[in-house]
């Protein structure tokens, strides 16, 4: 139900209850009808409990959930209800690693049901797939709907619909949910055990500045201006969030001395952040379902600021909020029939509002806003008139009087959908940055994309040596039965690709290319099943070296097509190994610089002297390491031909700028290029990736042939052919068509009878 349309559908005479939860599961006597909503779990180590029939009884009428799924259109519902508990094995799911754990959040009844179900699937030890489906009730305890959100969009999860069947009785242990996943020629059934009426646990620790009090509860009927049907109760902040689906525990803290606010006795954001680190007992540099709520007197900006989610500093954000008791929220409005109750209500509203920001909720009128590159997790509608905690009561038409006459102390449906069903990292405190994923900007994907984008590395284990530049291979495949037309440069970083790198525990970073090229590009037709490939240097860009220090990284790409459709790649996990020696660490200080990054990206320089010296030191001190191959490649490239530089003659006042041509140094170029590419070809193929390895050997061979060294060119292509013919990664060999092309290239350099070689050529 949208808050923009009117009061709740709940019965007006529903009793108030201080211990109210999302649903009650007391066996007898039942205070509330049973409900199916809640958290259900399946784990690999504990198979699901197989509960007998009957189903959970129907509850009160279900609100309209929105877009509907036609029951039975996936063919699964009727069959599943007749079948015994037939589970699809994990091997049939075709995942490389077993599915270890799954959780689903069924949201079909109870408080403010969103008629949705969402799930998380943990594959192996790292990969997680999140999905969301709308639901329509199709029978007693049975719901069906289309999956409209997947994160990531991956071929490993091809399902497009679900049928949810709930079973069990009064006792929670007997409750299960069986979900049939349907899709094009695929089906999967899983039974989950009921775990909790709540979707997440969260702790709120409350501290007060010395002498201040915490507004943790409100008498909902203390002020006469309220909805007529509003239940009279003492509503607490934890209860508000329990009704949103969170099992909130609040732990009282202690007094925070005003001295922390400095001489002006008013708090700055930094001072509050410092206080949070000192006084919050759970403070830790990691994401957790917990937040610190601080009641203080005044912010340094004065009485106009009633509260703030101040924690937008550092990598872990949204863990601290503050409410200022002496600000405008404590001003009693003239002529109000119950000014003290008005103030209590404003204090309570502010406290929940700020805590809502800790859950990454934006203001009601900002839902579609993108700021600083961060926007909503899915396309959202602004709700400037919403009667939600996340709106300003004084900003709606009619002001606070109109707002509170219609306010039921709740969040809007859009907000509840986000809090309950968005990927937890978007909501969890300390995880996604503030406003990032109110979200990470949602991709405009379609359920069955015509193109599939895969990121991969050409090695058995995705582990890179310290200092080794990380080259990723992009593969774009036409996954339809019709030809697809794309730009020839569609996989270039400066075109439609957005490339993200995220180190564990750190925010995502976008790899921004050093240059953008304005080129006339040709179209390319991908036949059904055909793929195109491109290498990409993932370690460094204009934003700096984001894939460098030892640790685990997640890499993902989004291809934005001219049609407006987004193609999201798989999440590729890679690891950077620690330094092997003291030399590594010393060289790293000069290697991880913007200049060296540019040199690697542009494949050479003859003017950035410091970067050149660093790369030469790499080749001298670490000659057998993979980074040396990259260094030799860029050093050799620029020596292979004449090089134009721009110089300045300050004595010439008329035309000071000159173009100076530096001569080639073919012998050194050849030595370095061969050292980079074919002295240790197996290693080079792995570190450059197959596509770039082939491209650079081809380029070197063409250059050698142009220098009159066709025999050497033939030899280099022969090494390329032998190396790639022998390569096999995860059972995958280089395409025969590619090997054939290399063979033809090699043969084009075959020495001809009577051909002369360059004088002095080796």
């Amino acid at each position: 139900m949208s808050l923009m349309t009117g009061p709740s559908a709940e019965p007006a005479d529903r009793p108030a209850n201080d211990e109210e939860t999302l649903q009650s599961y007391l066996p007898w006597p039942p205070r509330f009808p049973l409900a199916a909503s809640g958290l259900y779990t399946w784990t690999l180590l504990w198979p699901p409990f197989r509960a007998p029939e009957p189903r959970i009884p129907e509850r009160i009428p279900i609100p309209d959930p929105g877009p509907r799924f036609a029951p039975g259109s996936n063919g699964a519902k009727g069959e599943a209800s007749e079948r015994a508990f037939a589970e699809v094995s994990d091997t049939a799911d075709s995942w490389l690693f077993p599915v270890l754990k799954e959780q689903v959040r069924i949201d079909v009844d109870g408080r403010y049901p969103q008629m949705a179900v969402s799930g998380d699937m943990t594959i192996g030890f790292r990969t997680s797939i999140h999905w969301i489906a709308n639901l329509t009730q199709t029978g007693s305890g049975t719901y069906a709907g289309a999956i409209w959100y997947k994160d990531p969009v991956t071929a490993s999860f091809p399902y497009t619909s679900v049928v949810v069947e709930t079973f069990g009785g009064w006792f929670p242990l007997t409750r299960t949910a069986r979900i049939t996943f349907g899709g094009p020629n695929v089906q999967r059934i899983r039974t989950y055990r009921y775990t909790s009426p709540y979707f997440h646990d969260v702790n709120l620790e409350v501290d007060c500045q010395t002498g201040e009090t915490a507004a943790m509860s409100i008498d909902t009927c203390a002020h006469p201006n309220r909805p007529a049907a509003l239940p009279c109760e003492t509503l607490t902040i934890p209860q508000v969030f329990r009704r949103a689906g969170f099992d909130v525990t609040s732990s009282p803290g202690g007094p925070v001395p005003i001295a922390g606010a400095g001489a002006n006795a008013a708090w700055s954001n930094q001072e509050m952040h410092d206080a949070m680190q000192v006084y919050w007992s759970r403070y830790a540099p990691n994401a957790q379902w917990a937040a610190w709520v601080f009641f203080a007197s005044l912010h340094e900006w004065g009485t106009s600021l009633g509260g703030i989610m101040f924690d937008d500093i550092g990598p872990q954000q949204r863990q601290g909020t503050a409410i200022f008791n002496d600000s405008f929220i404590s001003s009693q409005p003239g002529g109000d029939p119950a000014p003290a109750a008005f103030v209590s209500r404003m204090l309570f509203w502010t406290a929940v509002h700020e805590t809502g920001h800790a859950f990454n909720l934006a203001h009601a009128w900002q839902k579609s806003l993108t700021s600083g590159g961060h926007g909503p997790w899915i396309p959202l509608v602004d709700e400037p008139e919403a009667r939600s905690f996340m709106n300003y009561p004084y900003n709606v038409n009619g002001g606070t009087t109109a707002f509170f006459s219609d306010f039921e102390y709740r969040f809007s449906d859009q907000e509840l959908l986000f809090m309950r069903h968005a990927p937890s990292r978007f909501v969890e405190q300390g995880n996604a940055l503030w406003f990032d994923h109110h979200g990470f900007q949602a991709a405009d994907t379609v359920p069955e994309p015509a193109l599939a984008l895969v990121l991969r590395v050409n090695r058995e284990r995705p582990v890179f040596e310290f200092l080794e530049p990380v080259t990723i291979e992009l593969k774009l495949t036409n996954s339809t039965t019709r030809p697809q037309v794309v730009s020839e440069r569609v996989l270039d970083l400066d075109q439609g690709i957005t490339f993200m790198v995220k180190k564990d525990g750190r925010p995502s970073r976008q790899v921004v290319p050093f240059a953008r090229y304005c080129l006339e590009t040709a179209a390319r037709v991908l036949a059904p099943g055909e793929s195109m490939y491109a290498p990409l240097l993932a370690s460094v860009g204009r934003n700096g070296w984001d894939l460098a220090t030892p640790g685990n990284y997640t890499i993902q790409a989004l291809l934005h097509l001219p049609s407006g459709e987004d193609i999201v790649s798989n999440e590729l996990q890679v690891r950077v190994a620690p330094p092997r020696s003291f030399d590594d660490e010393v060289l790293a200080q000069d290697f991880f610089t913007d200049d060296v990054g540019r040199v690697l990206a542009f494949e050479g320089t003859r003017v950035l002297g410091d970067a050149t010296e660093t790369l030469m030191a790499i080749t001298e001190k670490l000659p057998h390491r993979r980074v040396a191959a990259h260094a030799n490649l860029v050093l050799g490239n620029v020596l292979a031909k004449e090089y134009k530089t721009l110089t300045e003659d300050v004595t010439d006042k008329v035309q000071p700028l000159r173009i100076k041509t530096l001569p080639a140094s073919q012998d050194e170029a050849k030595e370095r290029l061969i050292a980079a590419l074919t002295t240790a070809p197996e290693q080079s193929a792995e570190t450059f990736g197959h596509v770039r390895f082939r491209e650079t050997v081809d380029r070197m061979a063409t250059w050698l042939a142009g220098e009159g060294e066709t025999k050497e060119a033939y030899k280099q292509e022969e090494i390329l052919l032998e190396t790639l013919s022998a390569r096999e990664v995860h059972g995958r060999k280089v395409l025969g068509s590619v090997l054939q092309e290399i063979k033809e290239t090699r043969d084009s350099f075959a020495p001809r009878a009577g051909a002369k070689s360059r004088a002095g050529a080796k």
Partner: protein, 99 residues
């Protein structure tokens, strides 16, 4: 003379902002960005005499807007926001509150 409070509120994203009153520049700043959790970027107070025309410009986005602010002895509060590259405003006789 009365106080005119100009509040830069929603939608500012590393913008250069200029504020002129009756043609006189009273504010120019780069990098103006809304703190989205309170919907406020910056604010300024200026004493004005009678009705004035307040021009707000965002040169980088090539947008500007002129607001006629009436005279109010108790002071006027002018809130400026940017919504999809359009400058919108609201006038109030009460101070703005942020949370």
């Amino acid at each position: 003379m009365a106080n005119l409070h100009v509040a830069l509120q929603d939608g500012f994203d590393d913008d250069t902002v200029e504020v002129r009153i009756d043609g006189r520049t009273i504010y120019r700043r780069d990098g103006v960005t809304t703190l989205t959790q309170i919907s406020r970027a910056d604010a300024l107070d200026v004493e004005v005499d009678g009705q004035v025309n307040v021009e707000i410009s965002l040169p980088r986005r090539n947008v500007s807007s002129i607001v006629t602010v009436p005279e109010r002895p108790g002071g006027v509060y002018l809130g400026i926001s940017v919504v999809r590259d359009v400058i919108v405003h609201r006038l109030s006789e009460e101070p703005f509150g942020y949370a």
